[in-house]
């Protein structure tokens, strides 16, 4: 259990790839530098998509939280 407080949460559970990553990118697009966005996704593809994109875009993936039936990704906008 992480104690990171997100500024925004995107619930992309149920969305097929690449929906969750696009939802995260859309939220980061609107966020301010330093904001933390939490993405909820239940597709395994996000476990590779999200870290790859965060690195490419220079944003920091602070944590991945494994929950019962989905994962929560905490990304801080650079």
């Amino acid at each position: 259990m992480t104690d990171i407080e997100p500024d925004e949460t995107v619930d992309a559970r149920g969305a097929a790839c690449p929906g969750p990553l696009m939802d995260l990118i859309g939220q980061i697009r609107d966020a301010e530098a330093g904001d933390v966005v939490r993405l909820l996704s239940d597709t395994d593809q996000s476990l590779t998509d999200v870290p790859e994109w965060a690195e490419e875009a220079g944003n920091e993936l602070l944590a991945i939280e494994e929950l019962d039936d989905h994962n929560a990704f905490y990304v801080e906008k650079a």
Binding site: L21, I25, W53, E56, A57, G58
Partner: protein, 381 residues
């Protein structure tokens, strides 16, 4: 008591559904037990796939436009008006101006996608598109005289209408410049928001080698942040800067505000059960086509197949029978791979696409379907 079915949106999904329902419910319509109203905010039905060919001077926007009253059967009440409010509790719709509100027993939302270029600074001024009539003709004016320089096709975000069309455009442009002996003078770059060249992994895996073979540069993980029309540059959120001489984009898409205002879903897309297409947040409301947030491509074939499912379900409900028809994710697309060849894919929720080898026969099949589309709109094909 007369059951009133209201369909909002006269695109592919709404028009096919109106005709499908009128056919299925012919006895009930004759007896006055059912009314079907199709609401559209303009008098014409627009077949958008025509726009892909407009920039190359091969089709005219009018080829994709016909009056709705010529396509929809007489048993359907056609109302040219704009819905301004959806009240799913009272099951009523409000219209523009002072027209009285209208009640419904069943509501189908087929309002489709709208373009939102204003989301990206500079895009409206610096970018061209072929996802609108005006965009396709403005692009034609530039493309027909374009003989050298850097052509950039940028997919700004996803989902967007017709996911195959960006690939089709660069494949067609490559072939078109080659045939005219201009390809050495024109560089082509294709950008896509995620780490591959298409949202669907199988289609991306098929398309990437074709792009490499034909010297179409691909920039992946490219999410456009801003366009500078003066310096003719496009900058991504990932920090890549591209110079262009002609910028063609797939602008950001959104649904209509009414849907979010009615509490039916975010960004104008209705949250639905992806099999029954029933709205999750309201009773007696369906959505189809781009409007239904199912995760399948925003494609005309999807709206067409979903209309058949919603038609069957509504007919069952109106007749007091259990509704059993479900949508299985069926999607069908032709993909132009040049000016004289095309591929074809068919897939659903369970089965992945396997693009067919490009052939002239498939290209002509696509063009033939585009002509016969008007039979689909009438509910005949």
């Amino acid at each position: 008591m007369t059951e009133h079915v209201v369909i909002v949106g006269g695109g592919t999904g709404g028009t096919v559904l109106a005709n499908d329902l009128a056919d299925r419910l012919d006895p009930e319509l004759d007896a006055g037990d059912v009314r079907i109203t199709l609401v559209n905010d303009g008098p014409d039905h627009v077949y958008k796939p025509v726009w892909l060919y407009v920039p190359f001077g091969q089709r005219e926007p009018d080829d994709g436009r016909r009056p709705l009253d010529e396509l929809v059967g007489d048993a359907v009440d056609l109302r040219i008006d704009r819905v301004t409010e959806i009240d799913t509790e009272a099951q009523r719709l409000q219209f523009d101006g002072t027209a009285p509100s209208v009640g419904y027993d069943y509501l189908v939302l087929a309002t489709g996608s709208t373009l939102e270029p204003e989301q990206i600074p500079g895009l409206a001024d610096g970018g061209h598109d072929y996802y609108s009539e005006s965009g396709s003709t403005a692009l034609r004016d530039e493309l027909l005289g374009f003989t050298e320089g850097h052509l950039v096709l940028s997919v700004i975000s996803s989902p967007h209408m017709c996911p195959a069309a960006p690939l089709e455009f660069v494949f067609m442009a490559d072939d078109w410049f080659r045939e005219r002996g201009l390809r050495d003078e024109v560089d082509i770059t294709y950008t896509y928001p995620i780490q591959r060249v298409h949202g669907n992994p199988q289609i991306a895996e098929w398309a990437r080698p074709i792009m490499d073979e034909r010297d179409i540069e691909a920039e992946t993980f490219f999410n456009a942040e801003a366009v500078d029309p003066d310096s003719e540059t496009l900058v991504s959120m990932e920090g890549t800067e591209l110079d262009y001489d002609l910028l063609v984009t797939i602008p950001p898409h959104g649904g209509i505000d009414l849907i979010e205002e009615a509490g039916l879903g975010d960004d104008g897309w209705v949250d639905v059960d992806k099999h029954t297409l029933e709205a999750e947040a309201a009773e007696n409301v369906y959505a189809l086509g781009d409007t239904a947030d199912t995760g399948v491509p925003n494609a005309g074939s999807v709206a067409h197949y979903q209309a058949g499912v919603v038609g069957q379900r509504l007919a069952s409900e109106i007749r007091g029978r259990p509704a059993t028809a479900t949508y299985d994710g069926k999607t069908l697309c032709f993909i132009e791979t040049g000016m004289h060849a095309a591929s074809f894919v068919e897939f659903d929720y369970e089965n992945q696409p396997s693009p067919a080898p490009p052939s002239e026969k498939l290209h002509w099949s696509k063009l033939a379907y585009n002509e016969s589309y008007w039979l689909t709109a009438r509910g005949l094909l």
